[in-house]
């Protein structure tokens, strides 16, 4: 049961995204990378060779810790950051944001919702300004009256009613949840086909997070949005997304259907992430094993650039992991993980049978 276990193949074009079942491919990203120069010749590889697809009416979740590069991916998709390498295609056509017109055309299709509703709205302007500005910019054929009408209808879509009252308010007069609704309405104003939501609920109170996610889900259905949901909360990704991509140190280390990835994680990092999430069904669980868990890789130095970035914290790491970074290896038709040690880390998934594939019940 060693080297001649099933040899997994790098995931190529035949990996089917779990989100593809919902609708057609809208935004496709292939081999996206972003390096930041740190000075003195040092380079930070913020995103390494990331590929993903967003589909009409489907949610793809990008999960990872802070600094894993998930927001950098979103910023590149939003056209705010220029990729070092890789291509972005919208509806099959490669995107070149060479000039302002091209940028604006792209933005009318791809909109973003930011994490902090307190920072993302201009305190000097009313809600009306925030909603009508994208209408003017991206739908310039609308008459003044139509803009007014559209603004009211958008407010109703995000359930801020009576719309006229809310349109007249300033951001400071709104609660966090109401502000985030305004951000959603602003994002929808351009009638985009893609919505990039960067931690859209993590600044909100627990009691209203669910309501906001349900609203997003509702908007996704109604407008057939292709959505990228960026979060550090893998439990909410399970609840909300069709496909989950797990990012670690700039690389997508695992991808697959949300239920499968969260219930039977393959990559050792995903396993760590899942086991670290609070488990309300495990009453007093922490008290029982009171800190007896080993602390993974606290002081270990950074791994070499060409090594598996998780190898310094990984309980399964071998020499190969420290010498050669694994590509995404295909586990099933819709799942892949970047790990050389999957036969040890997740034996039931790679045992050769059509293993572990069917968890969706």
């Amino acid at each position: 049961m060693s080297s001649d276990a099933v040899e997994l193949q790098p995931a190529a074009g035949d990996l089917v995204s779990a989100a593809a079942a919902r609708g057609s491919l809208v935004l496709e990203v292939v081999g996206l990378s972003k390096d930041f120069k740190l000075g003195r010749g040092e380079v930070l590889h913020a995103v390494r060779d990331a590929s993903l697809g967003l589909y009409r009416g489907a949610v793809v979740a990008l999960v990872g810790e802070s600094g894993s590069g998930k927001s950098t991916v979103a910023r590149m998709l939003a056209g705010q950051e220029r990729p070092t390498a890789g291509t972005i295609s919208l509806n099959g056509k490669p995107v070149h944001l060479a000039n302002r017109q091209a940028f604006r055309r792209y933005k009318s299709e791809v909109q973003m919702v930011f994490q902090d509703p307190f920072a993302s709205l201009n305190p000097a302007h009313t809600v009306r300004y925030h909603i009508e500005r994208p209408l003017h910019l991206h739908r310039s054929s609308l008459s003044k009256e139509q803009v007014h009408k559209e603004a009211v209808s958008l407010m109703e879509q995000v359930r801020l009613t009576p719309a006229e009252t809310f349109l007249a308010k300033y951001p400071h007069e709104l609660s966090g949840g109401q502000r985030q609704r305004v951000s959603f309405a602003r994002g929808l104003a351009a009638e985009p086909s893609v919505l990039l939501a960067d931690e859209p609920v993590s600044m909100l109170d627990v009691s209203i997070r669910l309501e906001m996610l349900n609203l997003l889900d509702d908007l996704r259905k109604r407008f057939e949005l292709a959505m990228l949901y960026i979060t550090h909360d893998i439990a909410s990704a399970r609840f909300f997304a069709d496909e989950v991509l797990v990012m670690y140190a700039g690389q997508i280390v695992e991808r697959g259907p949300a239920e499968q990835v969260t219930q039977q994680p393959a990559h050792p990092y995903t396993q760590l992430l899942v086991s670290s999430a609070p488990d309300p069904d495990n009453l007093g669980g922490m008290l029982r094993d009171g800190g007896k868990r080993e602390r993974p890789g606290e002081s270990a130095g950074l791994p070499a650039t060409n090594a598996c970035q998780f190898s310094s914290r990984c309980p399964f790491a071998i020499d190969r992991c420290r010498a050669e970074a694994p590509p995404l290896l295909q586990i099933s038709s819709s799942r892949a993980a970047a790990c050389w040690r999957l036969d040890v880390a997740a034996p039931s998934l790679v045992s050769g049978e059509e293993g572990g594939g069917d968890l969706t019940s």
Partner: protein, 367 residues
């Protein structure tokens, strides 16, 4: 009941003279009310809250932002300043190093100073802001030690080193400045600082909220390990109920400045009594088990400037009736619970809220 300065014996760890009877709470908050004076009127941030903390216990205080959970904890330590005003209540503290209980709200500033950090320490939410950016870890730790304990420089330095050992940070980091540490390390330094004087109560105000789940779990594990070795009690403030269910012995649920429910973690999870607690339990997606239908809680908390009469949760409550506008929010024992310490502020609802039971209950109260 005014305590004398001599009551506090800062350096002695003599435990033979125990005035506190076993079973008595270490910290007893009674009827505490705190208001913020604003030009528009008083904001009633904390209203008649009573809560006990026993030795070695972890009590979780959960609530939304603005529910008054931090104000309650800081008010109990008199750490608030104007425009906050403690408008009533009492806070009794009796540590094992003290001969007599102290009424914190009546201590003189000097008495308070000798007790703060020595007896009750705090781990603040934002370690980045709570640590001084221009002092290194060593200076910040020895500063606390010098301020609250006697001893030489060398002893303080030695102690600072062993505190870092305690929280699992290499001693070489004594020379590091806060910006050179990761978020998790900074939070560990905060914990080391809180433990520098071996306090009996540690108030933790969202200590892991800004951290990643993996680091969060490491830190919580470490806190529990330290608690088990050193035996302090923890008042753990958070908005994350799912975390508390796993961590706390008892949970106090706060809403709009008042306590809605107090009970053991298992009671709160398995037999929640207050509608707010029930809705809160259905507000977070769970990673394990079957996928549940999740609803959240539509609506927003009431303004505390001019709170509506009766139950503050009524506008968001699906089980509320007209009678709820007339109730006086006080904690009472959950009638169906065998545990006399399972308390709820909702007089109408039975733990499993069977429709018939609810209706009968309302009729009973109305009469």
């Amino acid at each position: 009941m005014k305590a004398e300065a001599g009551d506090l014996v800062p350096m002695s760890t003599d435990t033979t003279d125990q005035a506190r009877k076993p079973g008595d709470p270490l910290l007893s908050i009674r009827d505490l009310s705190v208001a913020y004076r604003t030009p528009a009127g008083d904001v009633h941030a904390v209203e008649h809250v009573s809560l006990d903390l026993h030795a070695g216990e972890i009590v979780g205080l959960v609530g939304e932002s603005g529910s008054g959970k931090s104000t309650l904890a800081y008010g109990a330590c008199r750490l608030l300043r104007a425009p906050a005003l403690i408008t009533g209540g009492s806070v009794r503290y009796q540590g094992r190093r003290m001969k007599h209980p102290a009424e914190i709200l009546q201590l003189s500033p000097e008495q308070l100073n000798s007790m703060r950090w020595r007896e009750i320490a705090i781990v603040f939410q934002s370690a980045m802001n709570a640590l001084n950016p221009v002092l290194n870890v060593r200076d910040q730790l020895t500063d606390v030690i010098h301020a609250h304990l006697q001893g030489s420089r060398a002893e303080a330095l030695q102690r600072a080193g062993s505190l870092l050992d305690l929280v699992g940070i290499p001693r070489a980091r004594l020379r590091s400045y806060p910006h050179e540490l990761s978020g998790g390390m900074r939070q560990r330094v905060m914990i080391a600082m809180a433990l520098a004087t071996e306090p009996e109560v540690v108030i933790m105000d969202e200590p892991t909220t800004a951290l990643d789940v993996v680091v969060q779990r490491e830190i919580l594990g470490q806190i529990l390990e330290l608690k088990n070795t050193l035996g302090f009690a923890i008042l753990f403030i958070t908005h994350d109920l799912s975390l508390l269910l796993e961590l706390a012995d008892r949970i106090a649920v706060m809403y709009a400045g008042q306590l809605m429910e107090v009970g053991t973690a298992s009671e709160v999870q398995n037999e929640p009594s207050h509608p707010y607690t029930k809705r809160l339990l259905r507000s977070f997606p769970s990673l394990r088990g079957p996928r549940r239908e999740l609803t959240g809680i539509p609506g927003t908390p009431p303004s505390l400037l001019d709170p509506p009469p009766g139950c503050p949760f009524l506008p968001r409550c699906t089980e509320g009736t007209e009678a709820c506008t007339r109730i006086d929010v006080t904690l009472a024992q959950v009638r169906t619970s065998p545990d006399p310490n399972h308390l709820t502020a909702c007089p109408f609802v039975l733990p499993d809220s069977s429709e018939a039971g609810t209706q009968a209950n309302i009729e009973e109260v109305r009469r």
